[in-house]
């Protein structure tokens, strides 16, 4: 009974939503004076950032990114708070599967390469697709690989929160440094450099590298917390 009710409600909702969406001409933008034209021209012209998405994520809407990093930070904190069992009861590592020697050796070989790829992705965030989030996630998957293949692989909690806190503080401080020269929060205060150079875009690469470290540390911590929750 409940299923039928929900299904019919959903059908009404879907038809109404689709009817409205069909008024959008797919592939043509309806609006004339949106903000995107400004972003598309200013980013390469004035800021020296080739990847416009990066320019938006880190600079134009950099405040969102600060919030987003905070969301991940909170998710890690929330998860460890929710799963916390008390001072004296520490969880035991869950073992998803026991891995063979081949897997172990292979992961050991792959691990540095994955970390390197992650670092490459977030250092080149302003030039190529990718950036702090993507690079951070790739680094976290590297640690995930190690955690899965070695049953006794340990990540230092102190080191993780150290990296996480320092990266977060770097982000917020770079933001506050924008107040130099009478600017505003998160404003660029470094020379922008030429388009498609590695050293370009002012503070954008600095912020994205901080984001990369922070996201990497947070997600590694999150997975580590989850894995350590065996009953």
């Amino acid at each position: 009974m409940k299923k039928i009710l929900v299904l019919s409600l959903l059908a009404v909702f879907g038809v109404y939503l689709l009817e409205v969406l069909f008024k959008i001409d797919f592939g043509h933008q309806f609006f004339l004076h949106g903000v995107k034209d400004f972003y598309l021209t200013t980013s390469p012209d004035k800021m020296g950032v080739a990847n416009v998405v990066t320019a938006i994520v880190v600079n134009f809407r950099g405040f969102d990114t600060l919030g987003e990093v905070t969301v991940l930070f909170l998710a890690t904190t929330a998860m460890s708070s929710i799963l916390y069992k008390g001072r004296h009861q520490l969880g035991e590592r869950a073992v998803l599967f026991s891995s063979s020697r081949i897997v172990m050796t292979g992961s050991k070989l792959l691990f540095p390469a994955i970390i390197l790829l992650g670092a490459y992705v977030f250092i080149h965030g302003h030039l190529t697709p990718g950036g702090g989030f993507q690079g951070g996630v790739i680094i976290a998957t590297g640690f995930l690989l190690m955690l899965l293949s070695y049953e006794d692989y340990k990540v230092s909690h102190v080191a993780l929160s150290l990296v996480e806190s320092l990266a977060g503080i770097t982000f917020a401080s770079v933001g506050l440094l924008g107040f130099l020269n009478g600017g505003t929060f998160l404003q660029n205060f470094l020379p922008t450099g030429g388009l498609n150079n590695l050293i370009s875009g002012g503070v954008i690469p600095i912020i994205y590298i901080a984001v990369g470290f922070k996201v990497g540390a947070e997600l590694t911590g999150l997975i580590y917390t989850a894995l350590n929750e065996k009953d």
Binding site: T42, L74, A78, I169
Partner: protein, 497 residues
């Protein structure tokens, strides 16, 4: 110049990132730092309020891009008032919970981070001038709220939190859908810019986006069909967190909804809709509150009812109505926090938190009982206290708009309210104490926090003029839509290096 509005977000974030590090060095600093941050922000907020009263709304540009290109923060009389209120409540709740989780240091770290972030998220919801940024702050607030609801490791707290999380994430999906619809039509995310261009939207989009917004924001504002999570979450969360929900988070939710309805979309009929939905919320919640036999659930339903009343007052839509609604929000934040804080000491050692377990506690906990009674008298609207003035101004606003039915309903609901609050006060003062109940004496910092709230109730009750000036300018700033748009869109040239 003491600082800019962005510090309300940046400083707590910096502190939250710093707290885990400081914990390695000096454990006590974990407890002290949030208080210092909130105290500084309170100083900043009061200063900025003075500045706003002098020279008008402050619009802060972020990353050097003027609106609508960059994100901006708006510190107007309205948002400034709410920010000051939230920071003040946050500071008092910090005093109250200073010794929280005294034994277990690792839990204390998490508690203070989450509490600080919940306050910051709510302040961000109020200050920001960008709908997607608001969405991000709503997520910050709700994730902290989920974790804080599940903070005690008892059986039911995880259930309450999971319920809250499911409703919360469905709502945030609706919010995201509304943002998609608006962006697809206008190509902008800035609130003032949307308000300026809203007439360009095709009608279907406008209505659907409004519906999605109300559904998405209604959960934090606790309006009728979306408040199923509220009683569970309030009852299961630690006492100070319940106070923070009713004093801070709900206020942010109501603000976001009101901003959408008053500024973003002027669809005719929305005000009537607000009155109807508010009345339904009010009546259902108060009816439910009478039936409760647990103290915190009763307070939670009462909180929902008061929010319904706030929505009704906003729905009246005149300057007087908005003034009354803001006045009620202010009073409700202070009084309901006092009720939650003192109430959680009344049922401190009980697992089920039944009302009858508070019998005769007045002799054992005189100050706590007195403060609870003060809060109860104030919230039902007895003449010399704070709640009276706000209820009076709602009634007079309704009378001036010839809404007789609203007046009758509010008065009859007030009688219900009177009944269930006096039932509790009566039990506290005149019933014999139950033997198995062991009263817990409040710690000194809890007493200080509750006394501050009690004094605030008395001050607002006897000198309502001390706040009405701010409330009047706040309500004017909400109603002057054109001025908001102009203030935001005319700010600042582009800073480009």
């Amino acid at each position: 110049m003491v600082g800019t509005p962005v510090l309300f977000i940046a400083i707590p974030l910096l502190a939250a990132f710093l707290i885990p590090l400081l914990g390695f060095v000096w454990k006590e600093s974990v407890r002290i730092l949030p208080g210092l941050v909130l105290l500084y922000l309170l100083y900043l907020a009061v200063n900025l309020m003075g500045q706003v009263a002098h020279s008008g709304t402050i619009v802060e540009v972020i990353a050097g891009w003027a609106p609508p290109w960059g994100i901006n923060l708006v510190f107007s009389p309205l948002t400034g008032l709410l920010t000051t209120l939230m920071i003040l409540m946050g500071f008092i709740i910090w005093i109250y919970s200073y010794r929280f989780k005294n034994i277990d240091f690792r839990e204390a770290v998490k508690y203070f981070i989450l509490l600080l972030m919940m306050i910051t998220g709510s302040v961000g919801i109020v200050l920001t001038g960008d709908i997607f940024n608001q969405f991000v702050f709503i997520e910050i607030t709700s994730i902290s709220a989920y974790a804080l609801t599940a903070f005690y490791k008892g059986r039911d707290s995880a259930e309450a939190s999971f319920k809250y999380l499911i409703i919360g994430s469905l709502s945030s999906m609706f919010l995201l859908l509304a943002i998609v619809l608006i962006y697809s039509q206008l190509g902008t995310l800035n609130m003032a810019d949307i308000a300026d261009k809203a007439h360009l939207m095709k009608p279907g989009f406008k209505i659907l986006a409004l519906i999605f917004f109300i559904t998405g924001l209604g959960i934090e504002a606790e309006i009728f069909p979306l408040n199923g999570w509220t009683p569970d979450a309030y009852a299961q969360a630690p006492g100070p967190v319940g106070a923070a929900f009713s004093g801070i988070v709900v206020k942010a939710g109501v603000y976001a909804m009101i901003r959408v309805i008053f500024t973003l979309f002027d669809v005719s009929g929305t005000h009537q809709f607000l009155i109807i939905i508010g009345m339904i919320t009010l009546i259902i919640a108060e009816m439910a509150a009478v039936k409760q036999d647990r103290l915190k659930r009763m307070l939670a339903y009462s909180s929902i009812g008061q929010m319904g009343l706030v929505i009704v007052a906003f729905g009246i839509g005149t300057e007087e109505g908005v003034f009354a609604a803001l006045f009620l929000m202010l009073n409700h934040a202070i009084i309901k926090s006092l009720l939650f804080l003192s109430g959680s000491y009344l049922v401190y050692n009980s697992t089920e938190k039944y009302i009858h377990e508070t019998d005769g506690l007045a002799k054992h906990l005189p100050i706590t009982s007195f403060l609870f009674a003060l809060g109860a008298i104030a919230i039902v609207g007895m003449p010399p206290f704070a709640g009276f003035w706000s209820k009076w101004s709602i009634l007079s606003a309704a009378a001036h708009s010839n809404m007789i039915l609203v007046i009758v309903l509010i008065l009859s609901v007030s009688i219900i309210e009177l009944v269930y609050y006096f039932r509790v006060v009566n039990r506290i003062y005149f019933f014999p104490k139950q033997k198995e109940v062991e009263p817990k004496r409040p710690t000194i910092n809890a007493l200080i926090a509750m006394s501050i709230l009690g004094i605030l109730i008395l001050v607002i009750g006897f000198y309502p003029d001390s706040v009405t000036g701010y409330l009047h300018s706040a309500s004017q700033s909400l109603l002057e839509k054109g001025k908001y748009i102009q203030d935001v869109l005319s700010t600042g040239q582009l800073f480009i290096q």
